[in-house]
């Protein structure tokens, strides 16, 4: 019984700790800061370097169907 309480206490402690950490992330806008200074520049760099299909390679058929019903 004691160990159950202890486990529950630990779980409660962890959840409380997590909750407090999340509140601090929220309060100090750490999510925004991480995204702004870390994630976005990294992704932007990735997208900028990404090899993309040259749009001018796409064929241009002039004999497409007439969709009339």
């Amino acid at each position: 019984m004691k160990s159950v309480w202890k486990t529950l206490g630990i779980v409660f402690g962890i959840l409380t700790g997590l909750y407090i950490v999340l509140f601090l992330v929220f309060w100090f806008d750490l999510d925004g800061k991480a995204l702004f200074y870390g994630v976005e520049p990294f992704l932007k760099n990735h997208y900028d370097k990404m090899k993309r299909k040259d749009p001018l390679d796409v064929e241009y058929r002039t004999d497409t169907e007439n969709y009339e019903y």
């Binding site: 001018l56 241009y60 058929r61 002039t62 004999d63 497409t64 169907e65 969709y67 009339e68």
Partner: protein, 403 residues
């Protein structure tokens, strides 16, 4: 080449919308009906008792008042028309047959309806809805619109005879003008054309802006004159080009191109003759109005059409014209702030050289080309590049086709 007999007179007629022939026709009791777009069939406005005037604003360089109403960020053409209207230049109009076919001309025409601009107490503006497709549904819609908003209004307001017989007669008269313009235009297909692009533009514009019966004589004589007209011994041009694109009602723009060594042999732009001067054919079983509706929808190459086959087919049409008129290159133009042609021009400039091998010069211009120096530089460079391409082709080399 020897000067065309009626060219100067035609040039004079283009100096203002209310020219002497318009005045004459009105004095005879006929009604002057303004319009701006190919989608308003001129043949309907040329019924007995009235005549169509496709609006222009020649020599309008600074549309100050219109800029107040329409801001400086709209098409110069629409604003110039507005300016001319505010100046009183369109007070002769009895009605405006309007279309919501491009935003800025639509806004201009809405201003005519909302504000007391046209000093003619009986003046009215009537809008017709124009379809974006060429399907049977669109033809039927267009036909109904023309009946309700053009024919019924002309009859109701001015007592114009809009019977099938009257329409047939209007078609006949219209077709004669078309035949003559096309006949004159055919000389542009010669290896060494016997008419310049400028001369042809003046003739074509005259047919759009004057009562047609009043210029028939001049057209007939010009067609006759063309039969014996000889080209210059030494051509003044280096290459032949097709001009395509947005609204252009200034022959001086064509003159500018030709002064750079490019003879304009085909005119696929708003106010041009391709399309525009094909004869209307009334098939068996068709009413004249149905034939007219079909004709204007089927012949139009406006970038406003949205079906896939039509959007794509327009590129082929341009290539076909270049081949038919033996053009060495294509100048594709759009007016600043014209959204339809901005896109169409961009894609034409990419696809036409790539898929059809036609050298293409893509330019953006104003309604009145005050920046002619810059344009001249562009055209001269293009002419040089086309000449070079010809040389390379003779030597069997390929060449980048877009200027």
């Amino acid at each position: 080449m020897k000067d065309l007999k009626h060219l100067i007179e035609m040039e004079d007629l283009l100096q203002q919308a209310y020219n002497k022939l318009v005045k004459e026709a009105q004095e005879e009791g006929r009604k002057a009906i303004g319009y701006t777009c190919y989608f308003m069939p001129e043949v309907l406005l040329d019924l007995e008792g009235c005549f169509g005037v496709r609006l222009r604003a020649p020599n309008c360089t600074s549309p100050v008042m219109a800029t107040y109403y329409m801001s400086g960020r709209t098409c110069h053409y629409g604003r110039s028309l507005m300016e001319r209207a505010l100046e009183g230049g369109f007070n002769f109009l009895d009605a405006q047959m309007a279309t919501e076919t491009c935003t800025v001309t639509c806004r201009f025409q809405e201003h005519l309806g909302r504000m007391d601009i046209i000093q003619n107490p009986n003046f009215f503006v009537e809008f017709t809805d124009i379809p974006f497709k060429k399907t049977e549904n669109s033809v039927l819609h267009y036909q109904k619109q023309l009946q309700a908003h053009v024919l019924d209004k002309l009859h109701e307001k001015f007592g114009i005879d809009v019977s099938d017989e009257a329409l047939m007669r209007a078609i006949e008269r219209h077709n004669e003008v078309c035949r003559l313009v096309r006949e004159i235009g055919e000389y542009r297909k010669l290896d060494v054309p016997t008419i310049t692009g400028y001369e042809f533009a003046v003739i074509q514009l005259t047919t759009l802006t004057c009562p047609k019966d009043k210029i028939l004589g001049m057209l007939r004589e010009t067609a006759e004159e063309m039969k014996t007209r000889k080209p210059d011994l030494k051509p003044t041009w280096k290459v032949k080009v097709c001009v395509a694109g947005a609204e252009n009602d200034h022959p001086d723009f064509i003159k500018l191109i030709e002064s750079c060594g490019a003879l304009v042999v085909a005119d696929r732009y708003c106010y041009g003759s391709l399309p525009g001067r094909e004869e209307i054919v009334v098939e068996e079983g068709q009413t004249p109005l149905e034939a007219i509706a079909r004709h204007y929808l089927n012949t139009s190459c406006c970038p406003r059409f949205m079906p896939q086959d039509i959007m794509r087919g327009r590129k082929k049409y341009l290539a076909d014209i270049c081949a038919e008129y033996k053009a060495d290159g294509l100048i594709i133009e759009s007016n600043k702030f014209c959204e339809y042609w901005s896109y169409e021009r961009t894609i034409d400039a990419l696809v036409i050289p790539r898929d059809f091998g036609i050298p293409t010069c893509s330019i953006e211009k104003e309604y009145i080309n005050s920046a002619s120096g810059q344009l001249r530089t562009r055209f001269q460079a293009f002419v040089e590049s086309v000449e070079l391409k010809k040389l390379h082709a003779e030597k069997g080399n390929d060449h980048d086709e877009t200027e």
